[in-house]
Symmetry: C3
Subunit: 211 residues, 3 copies
């Protein structure tokens, strides 16, 4: 019964778009802060939102790239970035919503990348890496272009949340559960870990070298 | 009559080489400024000149990469970088010539990338993006390697000129004009917008966030 | 006789792993210095160790990527990074060993990349570039992610050593010598040039612009 429910494909696309919008906003805000012009802000928004998936598909030889055939990605990102730049004074009001959408994006991007990895008959470990890759490389490239130390490698529970979700999927799959349930659980776990990390200020330890 | 004139293919190759030389000079100058050694300067020159086309072809699955089969690219870039490093004191005299060649390169790279996009039966919007990609990603990578905020995203009319040229091409093509005319117009518009932007100090607006 | 000795394939794999470990250590140390968390350090270690080979294979359209089918790479790098982070106070003791392993890695990575280039029937010049690419792009990406001016472009004899080794290979090959001998000579020359450069503080000249 449940596997006729078309949950993952359509819902995942909607969640993906929430994540895309969150990434476009985050990229635009950082680019504005750096003094980039309108076109520069749109470029950083594009890199932040679809850079990870682009490099993933290039590494996996999946052509044409997803955003070359589905124009919604470029349109949604460009529109988001333009609207934000025109109404930038709304920034402070969207800060909390951004974190919420960003967590949705982390979950959706991880599931999409993980599924792509599994579909290529790769080892589970590599599929987990594809989930992380899709979720964080866009933000990594954004920070590299803006000449910032990558946020995602420092202070935030991003990679860990993505891996936790993938491991949950694999555990449930090993237990014989339905793919739909596994994907839903994976989405939920990543979203929950990320929101809890924000709420309770969780960090992975960082071992600083003594000079 | 006019479409037997072999304008685009041979002339475009020559203009491409002007752009390659301009990029090799720009890359070498920044790398020297950063104190890179001879080999490092050549590498930055290569990245600046062929980095954008390389990533474009990787994204479009066009193999082998153009510079792997046509060795002129690597030879011209390496020779340009070496000559500049040996006679670097000529730098101040070449500054204006560099801006001129750079504008030629912007136009030629945009036309080449745009044509590659069209040839792959991609949506016009994606073909426009391929033109921008080819024209600016090399300079973006140069600045990233040299740990600089990318110039091309900040102060200069690069992306806008490239897009304006592509839109002109599409408008003329929609009007049924010959491809040769369209390409020539596209080349001219990009070159003219860039040179006018330099002369009259045009910039896209940049909306800075109030802290 | 000598060409039944299975030297290059198995020995090269072992030397490759030494290089992988050296790169994982170098990446982890820089990432720790930057205050990255445990997951961030592992990511930088991965990029440093397999980033160059990944981009090389993407540029040459060799799929699936080597580390997607041979999991030893990811396992060895992750284990190395984790062990180093847990016992980081051993750092000062490993500094000299790191330079030694790093030189082995430079030699092994260059030979592997150069062989890949030759196997694709590319021009010798492009094969030499593939050797350099494999040997240095990982370290370049590491420094870019960590927001540092790339070390490999500044102060060190890396690119030159790799090119010298490839040229020696081509000279011997032109003289009709056996591939096994050529590869061994190439490995030895790169390793020797690198170690001598460290010992005698050799640098390529860098021509600084007068402001």
């Amino acid at each position: 019964m449940i596997n006729t429910f078309i949950f993952p494909d359509i819902l995942l696309y909607v969640l993906d778009m929430f994540g895309i919008i969150a990434c476009a906003i985050a990229g635009t805000l950082l680019a504005q802060h750096k003094g980039f012009d309108i076109a520069g802000c749109i470029l950083v928004a594009l890199v932040n939102a679809i850079g990870g998936g682009t490099l993933r598909d290039m590494a996996l030889d999946r052509h044409p790239l997803f955003w070359m055939t589905d124009l919604n990605y470029v349109i949604v990102i460009t529109a988001t970035s333009l609207i934000l730049q025109i109404f930038f004074h709304l920034y402070h009001k969207i800060d909390n919503a951004l974190k919420f959408f960003d967590a949705i994006g982390l979950a959706a991007f991880s599931v999409i990348g993980f599924k792509v990895g599994l579909a290529q008959d790769l080892a589970p470990m590599i599929a987990i890496m594809m989930g992380v890759w899709t979720a964080i490389i866009g933000g990594l490239l954004r920070d590299i272009i803006c000449n910032e130390i990558p946020l995602v490698l420092q202070r935030e529970i991003y990679i860990t949340a993505s891996i936790a979700g993938s491991l949950a999927y694999l555990a449930l799959d090993y237990g014989g559960l339905d793919t739909t349930i596994n994907e839903f659980t994976m989405l939920f776990i990543i979203f929950a870990v990320r929101m809890l990390a924000l709420k309770f200020d969780w960090h992975l330890p960082s071992i600083r070298l003594v000079d």
